[in-house]
């Protein structure tokens, strides 16, 4: 600085330099305060909020990118697992359908057999019932025919026999009828 002062101003005294450039501590203070004030106001009313918003946006973008990346990986993983699961489910469904078909066939066969058996039972029971009813009917019919014969015989005999004869014949006929029926 001394050398520069000597060359430029022919003096080693800085006061010449200060005078030539008008350096004054008053002005230095004013200019310094001016800058500090402007810097503070710029920070207070502009830079602070802008930097904050920029940082927030950067964080959002970064987190969004991370999230998108993670979602992409999860999607790929999900797609892969979904394909595996769908394949397994298809296989399982095929097995279930096969089993169901087999079971259905078995049940159908069992049903058929059972229905056949039941039908045979019903037919057999019906036949028995029919036989029983026929027997009863035959029995009743015979009894009624017997009684009719007796009544007819009574009527025929009533005209030519005495009451004692009629009763004796009637009782004998009845016994005979009953004995035949019992046989």
């Amino acid at each position: 600085m001394v050398f520069s002062g000597t060359v430029l101003f022919g003096t080693t005294d800085f006061s010449g330099l200060f005078d030539r450039f008008g350096i004054d501590w008053h002005l230095l203070v004013v200019q310094s305060l001016n800058f500090i004030l402007v810097a503070f106001l710029l920070y207070r009313f502009g830079f602070r909020s802008v930097i904050k918003v920029m940082d927030e946006r950067r964080e959002k973008i970064e987190s969004g990118l991370v999230y998108a990346d993670r979602m992409k990986k999860e999607m790929a993983s999900f797609e892969s697992s979904r394909a595996t699961r769908v394949e397994a489910a298809m296989k399982e469904a095929d097995d279930i359908v096969k089993t169901a078909k087999t079971n259905a066939k078995t049940i159908l066969e069992q049903g058929k057999t059972e229905s056949h058996r039941m039908a045979e039972n019903i037919i057999s029971a019906a036949e028995k019932e029919i036989a029983f009813l026929r027997e009863n009917i035959l029995h009743d019919t015979k009894a009624k025919i017997g009684s009719l014969v007796v009544e007819v015989a009574k009527a025929v005999l009533a005209a030519k026999m005495t009451d004692e004869d009629r009763d004796g014949y009637a009782a004998a006929a009845e016994k005979m009828m009953l004995s035949k029926n019992l046989q």
Partner: protein, 305 residues
């Protein structure tokens, strides 16, 4: 926005050469600012007035750009401000260091915007040409703030104290001391005797470093002042040259075009100088706070890695 910039260039290019630096032809621009009046013993010079005008303009321009509030989805004005801030942050982050940046960055931004607009303000019409004549002496109302050594020296002094504050805040007093005077030799690579001797060497180097740090005030202030003041003189002399040509019969119509290229030059200088000042300040801070090349950062409460 493009229309705005076009209008700005038209005004800058065609009006400024016609109006600026009309005073004092041939004498050049005065190296000292001119006092216009004083307030409570404090002289108010033309550069201070210009500083206030541009400062007010800077704040209002920023408020105007961010009108309606700062939003996540930015408006046009906010986008412009954000693009400048984002660009500067991209540049400053590796210099200052990621951890120190949030603390330092607003100050660096203030320096950049302040110096840039003060420099650009020096190219506006009316610089040095609007004023009053007292006792035959012309006293301009406006003088580019950075063409006054008081202004640049004030900026450099504030930068020096800001540097000291940020270094202590980010690296701590111990970190700052270590950075200046500390023995940075690898103990495992040299003998113990040599290592102890190096303490004195590094201390002596630290003393020289202190002088270097103090000289930063001079270098920062004179670099900015020299460029701005030199530019003012260049424009002034080119305008004086054009007035000489104006009296010649053939080239008189071209005389006003002579300062034109130099306005473009000064426009670039204005941007570059604001950037250089800011970058140098960030480098000075980064030298103490950022040790990315060593694989770590030197921060308060942390051991140097």
């Amino acid at each position: 926005m493009a229309k705005l910039w076009n209008s700005f260039f038209v005004v800058l290019v065609f009006v400024s050469p016609c109006t600026a630096h009309c005073s004092g032809h041939g004498d050049g621009v005065s190296s000292a600012a001119t006092a216009i009046f004083s307030i409570g013993g404090f002289p108010v010079t033309d550069s201070i007035v210009m500083g206030w005008v541009i400062s007010a303009f800077t704040i209002f321009a920023l408020k105007f750009a961010l009108r309606g509030g700062v939003k996540t989805i930015p408006s046009t004005g906010q986008s412009v401000v954000e693009s400048i801030i984002g660009g500067l942050r991209e540049i400053m982050e590796p210099v200052v260091g990621r951890k120190a940046l949030p603390v330092v960055f607003p100050c660096l931004l203030a320096y950049f915007f302040f110096i840039l607009l003060q420099n650009l303000g020096g190219l506006l019409p009316g610089m040095g040409s609007i004023g009053i004549r007292i006792d035959g002496e012309f006293r301009p109302f406006f003088r580019p703030s950075n063409s006054d050594l008081n202004a640049t020296l004030a900026l450099a002094l504030v930068a020096f104290f800001a540097w000291a504050y940020f270094c202590v805040k980010c690296a701590g007093v111990g970190g700052l001391y270590y950075e200046i005077f500390g023995n940075k030799a690898e103990k495992s690579e040299i003998s113990s005797l040599m290592y102890c001797a190096l303490f004195f060497v590094f201390f002596a180097v630290g003393l020289i470093e202190c002088i270097s740090i103090l000289c930063r005030v001079i270098s920062l202030s004179f670099r900015l002042f020299g460029n701005t003041f030199g530019g003012e003189n260049l424009l002034h002399n080119m305008y004086g040259f054009s007035t000489i040509l104006k009296n010649m019969p053939v080239v008189n119509y071209l005389s006003y075009l002579i300062p034109l290229p130099f306005y473009f030059l000064e426009f670039l200088v204005a941007i570059i100088q604001s950037f250089v000042f800011t970058l140098l300040l960030s480098v000075y801070i980064g030298l103490v706070c950022n040790h990315g090349d060593h694989g770590g950062e030197f921060l308060k409460g942390e051991e140097y890695v």
